[in-house]
Structures are given as structure tokens and as C-alpha cells.
Amino acid sequence: MDYALIESNDLDAGTGVVARGVRRTFGDVVAVDSMDLDVPPGRVTALVGPNGSGKTTLLLVLATLLAPDAGTVTVAGADPRTDPWEVRRRTGWMPDAFGTWETLTCREVLETVAAAYRLPRAGIRARVDELLELVHLADLADRPTQVLSRGQKQRLGLARALVHSPAVLLLDEPASGLDPRSRIELRGIVRDLATAGAAVLVSSHVLAELDTLADRAVFVSGGCTVSVRDLDVASAGPRTWTVRALDAGALERALDALGRVHGDPGVDGAVELELTGDDDAASLLSALVHDDVPVVSLRPSGGVLEQAYLSLTKERQ
């Protein structure tokens, strides 16, 4: 797909998002206790945490909707509290619970938002057409948003967040309700934006959907930042792999002969073992092939994020 419209935008995310010690309470409910977050430009950062861990609240603080009780926040070089206008001009926010003006058509929604961002009138029509094309809603452009499915509404929400070509993008659970194809397209759009220099933050509690999307992951739990992982490093570092062969017995014997510590074969004959990284995996595979073990697959167990998340919770125990 051609995302020329994204690349042609003049993105200046400044320092992206920098948040330190952010705290926000609602009465006696502490939604965000103390969170630190960096969303560097040119990269996609995942905000990962269980339900109720304060992800949405943090995004609302970044999107200039909620004032933090404590802490410092910079979004696209400006403070959302003292200079919300500058932040809004450069930031696109896609809310979690997606409300929509039900009786408006998709086109009217985007035109309204474009006017609200004070885009020049002359360019609005073309911009809206581009966006509808980008999120594959061109054929539903003149239907009221009431009739859209949840996934289609999510896509309209993404288009809405992109109307003013923001340099910082805040997406709250963007993939929920999306079919696999839309998910892949979302990934394409988001990755292209990052490549073009945007700072992208994607929150989710579904680890698998972030795996191929994010470069970095910030783990939050109970309103606090627990850990920050670089996912490139995570995929290069030691982790559990799964190897499966047609003949489980032959596989076990070969692994024993190579001196590899491994688990017992599962029902499908797959065996799990710890490898130190991609190089280690490559050398193991060539050794197994050399020993004539009929290997079917060798892959990391679970997603990269899932592993990082699990290793994290293991560390905490």
C-alpha cells in the first residue's frame, strides 16, 4: 500500500513524549500512581498492562484531557497543562471507548474534525478522501456512522486521529474489534508513520497484537511503570524456543547428543528449550539437520512480548 500521504507530512515530534512521575487520582481511586514513560520519535512504543492498570488514564493526561496530580509531562515539546493548544495541534488521540456522532456520515465526521483542527478549507475535501481511502472506508463514506461495525468504527477513529497529520500519535487499544486483515493494515499505517518520524504510543492488554507492531514496550501494573523493554533486544536475548520434528525420539536423542538441556516432548512431539539468541537458534538448526533429524519447525515460544511480560512477572515473584 502507498502511504505517501503520511510520508509527505512535515512531522516534528520534538522529543516525542516524556513523562516522569505522573500521578492521577479520582477521589480515593488511584488510577495512575507513578508512571514514567518515553515515546521517542520514529519508534512505536507499546503500553502494556492488565485491565485497570491506568493505561487509558495516562493517555488522557497525554491527550490534554486530564490534569495530572503530580509529575511532569512533555508532549511534542509542550506541556499539556500549560500549553494544551500546542500539544493538540501536534497530537492525534484515538480513544478507547469509541463514541461517534451517530447521525453523521463518515465523511462528515472527518470534515468536522478537520475544520475543528482549523485545516485550510480548500484542502479538507481531498484530505478526507485520502483518509477514507487509507482506512478502507471510501465505500462507506456517505453512510451514517451508526451503521458501522465495531471494527469499522475503530478504523474511522484512526482516520479521525490522523486528520491533522499529527507528529505524536496516541492510540488506546486500537486493535480491539479489528479483523486480522485490518490489524495488518493498522500495523502498516502505524509503522509507516513511525518511519516518517512520528512518535507512536499504542496501549493494549493483548500482547499478541503488539508483537509485530511495537519496537519498545513499557509495562505498567497497578498504576506504576514496572519495566521498559526494547523488543529488538528481547528477540535477540535468551528465551524459550520450541522445536518440533516428525520423529520426537530422534529429536530427543539428537538434543541429548548435542548436550542441550530440554523439556519433555508435548502431545504434538514439540520440545521446549532455552536458547541464548538468534545465532544460537541458527546453529542448533543446522546441527539438527546435519544429524538428519526431520525438523518441521523451530520458533520462539509465544510472542516476544508475552515472553518479556512473563519473564517480568517471574522477576517480580
Partner: protein
């Protein structure tokens, strides 16, 4: 962006641009007008007004067989003005009284707040849309108002002033609805509070006036004119007129005495009525001679009477219709006093505009983001 200073949440809160206003107003009209059967409601409104106007015409034509048609015209015009004002005040909040909290619970308010629209643009755009809808109802009412006007008896100036004030009063009602919808989180609460506020100004204040009247009533010595028989003598001890005639053969006359009597100092509390929209409308458009039997004129006269307070000379003779000629001088003096009073409607209008402005300002303040506090039980998104 160098003009931005660091007073949260930004100095632009009160800035308004035409584009911003139009964007919000158009959005609001599309969003709400499309989702309601406004055409149906307008048709029902027209039918209702049509039926009432026709009934009034039929009734007065039968009653006023001998009366001048001009007088009847003025009476019908006044009644329809009040009908439009009361029904319009009921319909106008329908749009504005849910416009902020309705958006909030539908999850679309935050979408506007994160754009470059200022809180003032959002609030005033919503207000403008609600007012336009109210004006549509006024436009539908125009033929019926015009019908009363064409019957004669209503000066064109009165017609225009009344129409303008009707539009302003509906704007105030819309603003009250907008304010409550920004204050409360539930749409039912804001609708109820809006109706309570409007009812308080329209009905509650007059009721309060009458409830307070006993508190400003005192017993004083005053000159009182009574109808007594010619032979009657004033007994200062018993505070009564004494007459030794058994059956009043001698003619009745009007006599003065200095006696204790109850006086209601309505001049101390008349201002409770000044803000009432019905009073404002009545006071703003007098008949050329300051008199008239229509509802607008009589409300104007009565409120001005209350404002003057009890006359220095209490005239009980005036109740005796056949003695009118004798009292003509008194009556004329009183009317001159009434006419000499400054108009009350500018105060009333000012009170209403203040009410509307206050509620609009509250709405604007409530729309500021980032928010430090949220209405109880609401989420931003």
C-alpha cells in the same frame, strides 16, 4: 505560538472564531436535529398554535359582538404572544439541556476538546444551534402572531419589540439548559433543573411575591375615602362612620376620613416581578396611550401599580362603579403616575441576560481541559 502564557488551562478558553462557532453549530444541528423528528414536532406545534388561535378568534368574535375589532385583535395578539413564550420555553431546552452531558456520555465530547476548538466556541456553538432551533419554532409561530397583529389594535412597533424579546427570552432559556447540561452528568437531571429554573423565574417569583406580601403589610393611619350616606358622621373613637338613619334614604356620597387601615407596601418587593419574562414583554410594548384591556397592557398596568405602592389616599369609592365620574380625577392622577415611571423592562431584560450569560460562562468553564476535577461518576473516555 509565542502568545501563549502559562496560566492553565490556556488563555484561549474565551477566544471565539467564526469558523469554530460554525463548525460546532453545524455539527450540533446535524447530530441532534437529524436524530429527532423535528419536522413532526414543528407540524404539531403549528397545529397546536393554529387550533388555539382559531379558538380564540371564534370565542372573542362571539363575545365581542358589540366591541371594536381592534380591541379584540390586541387581546388575541397578547394571548398568542404569551402562549408562544410559555410553550417555547418548554421546547427550547429540549436541545440545549442535554447538549454537554449527552455528548459526554456518548463519548464524543472529548473528541471535540482535543481539537483546536476553544471551550467558548464549543459552548457558544451549541448555544447557537439550540437557539436556531428555538427560532424555527418562533418562525412557525409567526403567521399566528401575524394573524393577531393583522386584526388591528397592535402598533407595528409593539409587534417588532415583542418578537425581538421573544427571541431573546428563548435564547436565555437555551443558555440555562446549556449551563445545567455542563454542570450535571445526567441528562435527566439537567433537563429537570432547567425546567425548574425557568419555572422559578416565570411562576415561582410571582408566587413568592404574593407569599411575601403579608410581610410588607402594615397598619397605618391614612386618608380613606368611603361611600357613606350624606348624613353620616365620622366617629374617631370607634373608627367608623355613624349614621342615625335606619334606611339609607339620603343619597350616598364619597367622604374622606383619617383612619387606621392596612397598607401593603408592594413598592418594596415589586422588583421580584421585574425579571419575569411575561412582565418584561408586557412592559416593553405599551399601547400608545398607555392603556388597554389586552393582557399585555393590563399586566403592565398592574405591575406599575404595585411598583407605586398603595396610594396616599385610599379610595374605596372607586369600587362603586356608578360613582366613576366623581373619582375620575383620582384615577387620572394615578395613571399619570404610572406613565411617569421609568420602564421596568430594561431591568428585567438585564436580569435575564445576566442569567443567560452566567449559565453560558459556567458551561465554558466546565468545558476547559485538561480537567482537574470530573463530575462524579463520569469518565472522560
Amino acid at each position: 505560538m509565542s502568545e501563549i502564557v502559562d496560566t492553565p488551562p490556556g488563555p484561549r478558553t474565551w477566544q471565539v472564531s467564526w469558523t469554530g462557532l460554525r463548525t460546532v453549530a453545524v455539527l450540533e444541528l446535524r447530530q441532534r436535529v437529524r436524530s429527532t423528528r423535528w419536522i413532526t414536532i414543528l407540524v404539531i406545534w403549528a397545529l397546536l398554535l393554529g387550533a388555539m388561535t382559531t379558538l380564540l378568534h371564534l370565542a372573542f368574535r362571539r363575545l365581542g359582538q358589540g366591541g371594536e375589532s381592534e380591541e379584540v385583535g390586541a387581546i388575541i395578539f397578547g394571548l398568542i404572544v404569551y402562549l408562544v413564550l410559555s410553550l417555547g420555553s418548554l421546547i427550547s431546552p429540549a436541545l440545549s439541556a442535554t447538549s454537554v452531558n449527552g455528548d459526554r456520555s456518548a463519548g464524543v465530547l472529548a473528541t471535540l476538546q482535543t481539537t483546536l476548538l476553544t471551550p467558548a466556541e464549543i459552548a457558544l456553538g451549541k448555544l447557537g444551534a439550540a437557539w436556531l432551533t428555538a427560532l424555527a419554532f418562533l418562525a412557525v409561530a409567526l403567521p399566528f402572531l401575524g394573524w393577531g397583529f393583522l386584526d388591528g389594535g397592535t402598533p407595528p412597533g409593539r409587534f417588532l419589540i415583542t418578537l425581538t424579546l421573544l427571541a431573546v427570552m428563548l435564547l436565555v432559556v437555551c443558555a440555562v439548559g446549556l449551563g445545567w447540561s455542563a454542570i450535571t452528568s445526567r441528562t435527566t437531571s439537567s433537563a429537570v433543573l432547567t425546567y425548574l429554573t425557568i419555572t422559578f423565574v416565570g411562576v415561582g417569583l410571582p408566587v413568592l411575591f404574593f407569599m411575601l406580601a403579608p410581610l410588607v403589610t402594615t397598619t397605618e393611619r391614612r386618608t380613606v375615602r368611603d361611600m357613606v350616606s350624606q348624613s353620616a358622621v365620622w366617629d374617631p373613637r370607634g373608627q367608623v362612620w355613624m349614621s342615625n338613619e335606619m334606611n339609607g334614604d339620603s343619597p350616598m356620597v364619597c367622604r374622606e376620613s383619617f383612619q387606621e387601615t392596612t397598607v401593603t407596601h408592594s413598592e418594596r418587593i415589586w422588583w421580584l416581578l421585574a425579571g419575569n419574562p411575561f412582565v418584561v414583554l408586557a412592559d416593553a410594548s405599551p399601547m400608545p396611550d398607555g392603556n388597554g384591556d389586552d393582557i399585555l397592557s393590563s399586566i403592565r398596568t398592574n405591575v406599575r401599580d404595585l411598583r407605586l405602592g398603595a396610594p396616599a389616599v385610599q379610595d374605596r369609592c372607586a369600587d362603586w362603579g356608578r360613582m366613576r365620574a366623581e373619582n375620575a380625577a383620582q384615577q387620572e392622577k394615578r395613571q399619570k403616575q404610572r406613565q411617569a415611571l421609568n420602564a421596568t423592562w430594561p431591568y428585567g431584560l438585564a436580569v435575564n441576560l445576566l442569567l443567560g450569560t452566567t449559565f453560558t460562562a459556567v458551561a465554558i468553564r466546565r468545558l476547559r481541559a485538561p480537567a482537574a476535577k470530573l463530575p462524579r461518576g463520569t469518565r472522560v473516555a
